[in-house]
């Protein structure tokens, strides 16, 4: 076991994918000799040559558009958008082509391509370098949107995304690039479609993804000291959504908080809250609460600490989950897990992802695609 950062794990995933499949191509702005501004493509140009990993002209719509063409003809392009906000020029390509090509052609043309986007704040970046843009993509049918929360998932999910026959928006939590884990690579973790319970608990389900998973785990520790037993669910796949794992947890705990960095209004947390409520209404002791970024443009570095969800804010939200039986005198405690559930999607996966808590299952990655 060696200490591996998420950036290193992602780098290794790209390297292994390039080695495993000659159709994989990595390109974008500064991904060649420089190795990307976050060094995620470090060394790839040198190892695989400028034909396999290269700098393109500086134009994001062109990068995604050419990737569409490559994927139409047997390529497996993995392109990098340098920062979240700089993927916006490619929005039309993503929404009007990448998401729709398979459907448009009744499956005749598939687009196995990955658009890597470092996203989120917390690194002291100036304007336009800290957006959390996941809600824009997750609302677009035809795109898969995934985001790893730790180095092992960084490796495994990126390899899975590259192998996936659908286009994947792969959101990398940039403030976690330097997070370390003891890790032997290659590693294969749970399917990228699956949410995973990162820390089990009985009192409240804390739902997080990407950059907020570590914050959620920290919160769980702090809450434990206050006597609250928090279950942390790492969503991993934002679209499609793993209803089974999440609903199972919330029915058990009866309370839920969802947390993300993006502005709260119209954010991804709204979807989580709405669907969890719909599926678990009669198990809920309190409304599903959301902790998100403020509903303002992402602030400058010196003020970002006021914007970002913190352990304290998540604990505060938990405090508002109506723990006192008499807090709301007319409302008797809700029925718990033995109650009749609302009609709900239990088909998200054969195995209940919720019960599988192994952080990562070390197994060699099959070099060829499934």
């Amino acid at each position: 076991m060696t200490e591996t950062t998420m950036a290193q794990a992602l780098n290794r995933a790209l390297r292994d994918a390039l080695a495993a499949d000659p159709d994989v191509l990595v390109y974008g702005e500064d991904v060649g000799p420089l190795g990307g501004v976050f060094r995620v493509t470090d060394g790839l140009a040198a190892e695989f040559g400028a034909e396999r990993c290269f700098d393109s002209p500086l134009a994001e719509a062109g990068i995604v558009g050419t990737a569409v063409g490559m994927a139409m003809h047997g390529g497996r392009p993995v392109v990098e958008m340098q920062f979240d906000s700089f993927a916006y020029p490619a929005f039309e390509q993503l929404v009007s082509h990448v998401a729709k090509m398979r459907n448009r052609t009744q499956g005749a043309v598939e687009l196995p391509m990955v658009v890597r986007i470092p996203y989120g704040g917390g690194i002291g970046g100036v304007e336009h370098h800290s957006d959390s843009s996941e809600a824009y993509y997750a609302h677009t049918p035809g795109l898969r949107v995934v985001t790893p929360g730790n180095p092992a998932d960084g490796y495994s999910m990126l390899r899975e995304a590259i192998d996936c026959p659908d286009p994947v928006v792969f959101l990398e939590p940039k403030r976690r690039y330097w997070d370390r884990a003891d890790l032997e690579l290659p590693v294969r973790t749970e399917s990228m479609d699956r949410a995973v319970v990162r820390s089990s608990g009985t009192d409240v389900t804390l739902i997080a993804y990407g950059p907020m998973v570590a914050t959620a785990l920290e919160t769980a520790e702090a809450a434990r000291e206050e006597g609250i037993d928090v279950e942390v669910v790492d969503l991993r796949s934002l679209s499609p959504f793993d209803d089974a794992t999440v609903a199972e947890s919330v029915r058990r705990t009866g309370r839920a908080v969802v947390v993300h960095e993006a502005p709260m209004f119209g954010g991804y947390g709204a979807e989580v809250a709405a669907r969890v409520t719909e599926q678990c209404f009669h198990y809920l002791e309190a409304p599903v609460l959301r902790v998100g970024g403020l509903d303002i443009p992402y602030p400058p570095p010196k003020l970002e600490e006021y914007y970002l969800p913190s352990v304290d804010r998540i604990l505060d939200a938990m405090d508002r989950l109506q723990w006192e039986a008499d807090w709301f005198p007319e409302a008797p405690p809700r029925p718990r897990a033995d109650a009749v559930p609302l009609p709900c999607n239990d088909s998200a996966g054969a195995s209940a992802g919720g019960s599988d808590r192994s952080r990562s299952e070390v197994s060699a990655w099959a070099p060829s695609r499934p």
Partner: protein, 381 residues
């Protein structure tokens, strides 16, 4: 000052296109001598003519179907046959074509079943043919957005060692989009074999080309990317064929991509629901009708003794058969205005079930549920 900058050597000393378009056949059907671009041989000219007669008949039929409400919409090719057909016939079978909504005649010329070329316009589905089989991308509606697809596709083909060039069709209006620029630039920097054929039909719906560009010609853009630019008479099928062939040949040989501006004219309204009297004068249409691409080639071939009434009748009959076939096969169509006259139900080509099948390679649980709910709803469960 020595340029330390080692920019890729620009393709053969770029010269500016002439403001007079390249022309091989004038509007009376006389040959024009141009030493740079050979006039196609008679066999090719006959093929061009035959395709234009068929293409025009198809287009007229599709227009009629649209007026009858059997198509959701139809953007006409009338007047632009030389561009679409001259361009498509210059392609090799293994090359790729990237058409727009405007280019149904190009699709027919590419060999796609006419009924399938109209799937989008019928409102049955977004695309009606297998792009891989015909090496023809789906018709593209968001302007200029498929141009970069062509660049990526030819790049991927070259990596596999395949000799694949691509022809991108685009309108004059589309050149204003940032996507056009990015595609031109990627093609030039990566030196991929793509020819961008701009059908300058002088209008982008109601907007005249002078409101799109102040350039001497649209082909003048080429030099700004370090590629070759050609300005051609787009109603001269021989010239379009010859110049596109030439450009494709250069591109294949590593000479880089090219922009071709073809001067043509949309004789019909933008689509069946357009109101051209609001923005253009009928005299302009008359002016261009005198420059008809079909009549011109017919005149030449007749004058040179390569075409007689009998042959023309044969071609016309073939075109008529295609039109009849199209009409008959679409006669069972219900109106595509699904919601607005939902009373007029009829069977669409695809079932509601198909809505869910190809969103992803495998439908995720949420979609499987929605499919089930819809099927239940339709069965009245």
């Amino acid at each position: 000052m020595k340029r330390i900058d080692d920019r890729a050597e620009p393709a053969p000393a770029p010269t500016l296109p002439s403001t007079e378009p390249i022309r091989l056949v004038d509007r009376k059907g006389h040959r024009v001598v141009d030493s740079a671009y050979p006039t196609p041989d008679h066999g090719t000219l006959l093929t061009l003519l035959r395709s234009m007669v068929i293409g025009r008949r198809f287009d007229r039929q599709a227009g009629a179907l649209a007026r009858q409400g059997r198509l959701a919409v139809y953007p006409s090719s009338y007047g632009q046959e030389a561009c679409q057909i001259g361009g498509v016939l210059a392609l090799a079978e293994h090359d790729w074509l990237f058409p727009t909504y405007r280019d149904c005649v190009a699709l027919v010329t590419r060999g796609i079943d006419p009924v399938d070329t109209l799937t989008l316009m019928r409102g049955d589905w977004h695309n009606g043919y297998d792009p891989g089989r015909y090496r023809c991308a789906p018709q593209c509606t968001p302007l200029a957005t498929n141009a970069s697809h062509a660049v990526g596709l030819t790049y991927a083909a070259r990596r596999k060692g395949e000799d694949v060039a691509a022809l991108v069709l685009m309108g004059d209006g589309a050149t204003s989009e940032g996507d056009a620029h990015e595609a031109y630039n990627f093609a030039a920097v990566w030196n991929t074999p793509v020819v961008f054929l701009i059908q300058n039909n002088h209008w982008a719906i109601s907007v005249p080309v002078r409101k799109q560009s102040a350039a001497p010609t649209l082909a003048h853009k080429a030099i700004g990317y370090g590629m070759r630019g050609y300005h051609v008479d787009g109603n001269d099928a021989a010239a379009v064929y010859s110049v596109v062939s030439h450009a494709l040949g250069e591109a294949r040989a590593g000479g880089g991509p090219a922009i071709i501006e073809a001067q043509t004219y949309r004789l019909d309204p933008h689509t069946n629901s357009d109101a051209p009297q609001r923005y253009r004068d009928e005299s302009e249409v008359e002016y261009w009708k005198e420059r008809d691409p079909v009549a011109r080639l017919e005149a030449l071939l007749r004058a040179e003794g390569r075409l007689d009434d009998a042959e023309l009748d044969r071609v016309a009959a073939e075109a008529e058969r295609l039109a009849t076939d199209l009409r008959e096969r679409l006669s069972g169509e219900r109106s595509p205005r699904g919601t607005r006259d939902a009373g007029r139900r009829g069977g669409p080509a695809l079932s509601p079930d198909d809505l869910f099948t190809h969103v992803y390679a495998a439908a995720p649980p949420m979609l499987a549920q929605q499919r089930q709910a819809l099927l239940d709803e339709l069965r009245g469960v």
